[in-house]
Structures are given as C-alpha cells and as structure tokens.
C-alpha cells in the first residue's frame, strides 16, 4: 500500500468516525434545534481548541465496528476561557450512546487524566443506558465490575449537562458532579420508563420520573434548568469561571465591574424595619457583591436558603444566606442538604464562605422528623466544622437557636452583626408562651411583660460586648466589611489552599 492509499484510507476513516450515527437521527435533532455531540463540544469549548482522544475506537463486539463510530462517545482535550479542560460528550445517534466496554474505558481514562493533570472535567450526558447484549452474562457484567471505578474525590471541578434522555452511566456522572445543568425536556434517571414498564409493570411519565422540575425542585440533583443546549453549555462555562482548575489552585480573580456596590444604600429600602415582615435576600446579595456576579446554585431547591457563587472585589466567594421570603427563612431538610453540599464544593476548591443570617430557627414538625432533619442539621454542622477555607458571617436580623450556630455563629473567622441583629435561643414570644403558659389574648399585660423580659439581652451590642461577635456594622457597609475581611483572612501560610477534609464527602444523603 503506497502513501496515497494510506492517506486516502486515513481520511475515509476519519470522516466515517466524525459522521457519528445515522443521518436520519442527526437530521431529526437538527430539525428540533437540538445539538449533536460534536456541535455541543464546539459550542462549549474555545474555538479550535478541541483535540479528540479515541476517534477510532469502536464496539468491542465483533461485527459491530461499522455501526459504532467512536463507540458512541466523543472525548478529548480542549480549553474554556483559555484554561485546559477535558470533555466527554455522549453521542446519542450512535447506538443511543449506550455504555459498553470501550466507550467506558475512554471516559474512565478521561476522568482519571483530568484528575491527574488537574483540569476540570465536563460531561455532556445523553445515554440510553448500558448496552445489551454487550454487558449481559457473567463475563459482560463481570468486565464492567472489574474495569470501572465509580468513586470520586473532589480533586478537580466536575460539571455535567443533561441534554436528553440520560439513563445509567450519564446519570451516575451527574450524581457525583459539582454542577449539573439540565435542558428542559431532558430526563435523568436510573433507567428508562420502558424498563420500568417491563420490569415492574409501572407506567411512568418520564417527566415525573426525572424531568427538570423533579430534579431542580424535589431532588436537588440538578442545580439549574435551561431552555437550550447552548444555554446549558454557557452555564458550564460560567460556572467554571468561579473555580480553580483543581483543588491545589486558587480561584481565578476577575475584573470588578464599574458601579459594583454603588447602590448599597438601597439595602435599607429592601430590608423591612418591622421584624415581622419578610423580603427577598437575593436582592440584598446583589447590592453587596460585584455587579452581575451572582451565580445561583440549586435556586429552586430548599428555597428558604440561598446558595450562590459571587465575587467581591473580583474574588470568588460562596454565599449561604437565609431567604425570609420562603418559610420565613427557616432551615428545613432540603436547605440543610443544600448548605452541606455547597460547603463541600467551596471547601474543596478554596472558595471562602460567607454566611448572611436572618433565620428564626429550624422548621419543626412531623414531616421534617420523618426525613431525618436532626441528622441533616448535624451534617451541616460537620461540614462547617471540617471546612478550612475562610468563613465570614454577618447576622442581619434574627438568628435563633441551633440555626444561629449553623449559620456561622461562633464558627467563623470573623463575625459582624448589623445593628438590627437579634440573637437568642428562640423568639421571645415563643419563649414567653412556653415558660409561662399564659394565653396572650386572656392576659395580654402579663404576657407582654414576659415577652419583654425574654427580649432583653438580644441586641448585637450584647453579643459584641462579650466579644462573641467581632463587630457591629451598618448594613450599608457590608460590602466593605466583607472585602476587607476577605483580604485579612486569606490563609497565607498555605497560599490560600485548604486542607480539604471534605474531598470525599458523599454527593447524595
């Protein structure tokens, strides 16, 4: 075979592998406005930065070589905002991107290489599940068991986009990623509705099983839901911009947009003077941080708590703030889980944590107890106490009981109270009721006197007087205070790199 023949054959094989699966399937998704695997990679990465690994891989099953270009996944190296990343995109047009020996070897290698080289790992999930007949029988299943590693330590950020039906492998990756974005209409689950029907005779609506509302509002497995593939891929680019490439680096600094913090006075308009009235803390956060820098995480889940990345003076921070607009800001099972997972991410990637507290306590009741709320509270405490990133806390209004501690009370490197702060074990009216047993309607004066007694000593000056808070501040000075404390509390002896005790913290609990 001469050079010309080699060149021709090489080009033919490259074209065939790059063509992916059936032209009919490719046309269908183009018509529906849904990107294919290679288009997704182009949209995700910096122009021209993609270099594929494993283009010529095919199915291990003899006779299937021509039907399995790249064995159904497109993997390789690229850049996002000039930084190296590794990406795996499942090609649904090729055998449903079903998981098999060779494509799993590819993805496994990409994952391990990302960790070894210290670069973020991005996975674009769309998968029909494991490939039958490849994994059937003892040798099939045994090979899977032997060859695959499922545990993950938070060494590099993992971001996953669920961009279609995602069963089995695609969902396993999403389940251990730091960030999951779903396109509305995509479904994430253990297995397909069809298998449910065949195996357990259950007719299931796919959206109800694992659609975006379920995953963003009920399970919290998805951090964000968007309308298109392009938005999902942009969300991953944005998410990664807040984090370092790996756990041994600091997050990148960004420019500070003009006008950041200029509207701080509006905090006094947003936060009601009357302690009974609620407000949306997200609006307050926007006034404190760099302009347009808020990136919410799990916004639709555990809404009585806000978790978001943001920047202050160009530096990434992780904000955990009670939102009184939902459940009065009370912490419940979902918000405890959300706080815990957010602390694990921030701590693992050297992101300082900022608590903004306005919390009446934990939400009590039978439903919470049945969902193990005491354990969730303790998970949250465990995470907070294991964290070695700088932790700053600001008590805005009330902060009562164990929730005061969970929101950083006595647990931060520096704590300030707004002059409106109100710190105690429980609301004075509740304390008065429980201790005296008085009916406020029957004996209003005696009850009022009891409430008055339990309201004493709750001011931020009482707390700061004993150096249990380090400062009392005007709410309008919150940004300056935080910016200065972030500079002061950089852990310089370790170059800002934490001890990462939460690297192996589980992802679902």
């Amino acid at each position: 075979m001469g050079w010309k023949d080699h060149i021709q054959e090489h080009e033919r094989r490259i074209a065939k592998a790059r063509a992916m699966g059936s032209p009919k399937r490719l046309a269908e998704r183009a018509e529906a406005g849904i990107l294919n695997a290679r288009q997704r990679i182009e949209a995700l990465l910096d122009v021209g930065s993609f270099h594929e690994s494993g283009l010529f891989a095919v199915s291990r099953r003899p006779g299937m070589e021509d039907k399995s270009p790249a064995d159904g996944v497109v993997d390789g190296y690229g850049r996002i905002d000039g930084r190296e990343v590794i990406v795996c995109a499942q090609d649904f047009t090729t055998l449903g991107s079903s998981s098999a020996i060779n494509n799993s070897s590819k993805s496994m290698k990409m994952w391990r290489t990302a960790e070894k080289n210290g670069v973020p790992f991005v996975y674009l999930s769309e998968c029909s599940g494991a490939r039958i007949p490849d994994i059937m029988g003892a040798i099939g299943m045994g090979s899977v068991g032997e060859g695959f590693i499922f545990s993950r330590r938070r060494l590099v950020p993992w971001a996953d986009a669920v961009l279609g039906m995602s069963f089995g492998g695609g969902t396993w990756v999403a389940s251990v990623s730091d960030f999951v974005v779903m396109r509305k209409g995509a479904v994430m689950a253990v297995t397909s509705p069809r298998v449910n029907t065949v195996a357990i005779s259950e007719q299931i609506d796919p959206e109800e099983m694992g659609g975006w509302r379920v995953q963003t509002e009920i399970t919290g497995k998805a951090d964000l839901a968007v309308d298109s593939d392009e938005e999902a891929l942009q969300a991953i680019r944005d998410y990664l911009s807040y984090l370092p490439s790996n756990c041994e680096e600091l997050p990148p600094m960004a420019d500070v947009p003009t006008g950041s913090g200029d509207d701080a006075n509006r905090i006094l308009d947003l936060v009601p003077e009357e302690r009974r009235r609620t407000y949306d803390v997200r609006k307050v956060i926007s006034l404190i941080v760099d302009r347009d820098s808020v990136f919410p995480v799990k916004e639709r889940f555990g809404r009585s708590l806000v978790t978001c990345f943001a920047r202050i003076q160009g530096r990434t921070v992780g904000i955990i703030a009670n939102n009184p607009m939902f459940k009065g800001g009370a912490l419940d099972v979902d918000s405890c889980d959300k706080a815990t997972s957010f602390i694990a991410t921030c701590d693992s990637f050297n992101v300082p944590i900022i608590f903004l507290a306005d919390v009446p306590g934990f939400l009590i009741g039978v439903e919470g107890e049945h969902r193990k709320v005491p354990g969730k509270i303790m998970n949250f405490m465990q995470a907070l106490e294991l964290a070695t990133v700088p932790v700053l806390s600001v008590v805005m209004r009330k902060s009562y009981g164990q929730a005061y501690i969970n929101m950083g009370g006595g647990r931060s490197n520096e704590m300030a109270c707004w002059f409106t702060a109100d710190i105690s074990f429980v609301d004075p009216a509740v304390a008065a009721s429980i201790v005296t047993g008085l009916d406020p309607k029957a004996e209003p004066e005696r009850f009022a006197a009891a409430v008055e007694e339990y309201s004493l000593g709750c001011s931020p000056y009482d707390l700061a007087g004993q150096y249990l808070a380090h400062d009392v501040i005007d709410p309008r000075d919150t940004r300056q205070w935080l910016a200065r404390m972030l500079e002061a509390h950089q852990p310089r002896r370790t170059g800002g790199i934490g001890a990462h005790y939460m690297q192996s913290w589980p992802f679902t609990y």
Binding site: R275, R276, R277, T278, F326, G328, P360, D427
Partner: protein, 73 residues
C-alpha cells in the same frame, strides 16, 4: 394552559389575601400572606399566570402542603 395548585410550604394562619380571582401574577408574586413563626410569610405563585380560585379566608389555619389557591399557568 395547565391548572396549577398553589400550596403553602408551612403551617400557619391566613393573614392577608394579596391576589384576586382573575388577576395575572408573575412567578414568585405573593398570592396569600400567612402568619407563622411570628412573621408574615408570603405564599407565592410557582409560575406566571392567572389566579382562578382562592380557597382560604383570613384567620383560617393552614397546614403545610395545603392547597390555598389555584391558577392557570
């Protein structure tokens, strides 16, 4: 247009009815205000749409998860 139930996320007592039947609301607009934990806490619209029914009245006790209104969205 789907019919959507607006449910309270907490137990409490109805303090104020903020929206009327027929009113258009945006996602997260307050529909009912409850009094609970010594605070006035909104029950908000889960999506944008139009209120079709208000199912509670002032001072009525509401349980966690109870449907307090319905809307089209």
């Amino acid at each position: 247009m789907a019919e959507i139930e607006i449910k309270s996320e907490i137990a409490g007592k109805v303090w104020l009815i903020e929206a009327e039947v027929g009113q258009s609301v945006e996602e997260e607009d307050a529909v009912i205000i409850l009094e609970s934990m010594k605070m006035e806490i909104p029950v908000v619209a889960p999506v944008s749409g139009k209120i079709t029914e208000i199912l509670v009245e002032k001072d009525e006790a509401v349980a966690e998860g109870q449907t307090v209104a319905r809307m089209e969205g």
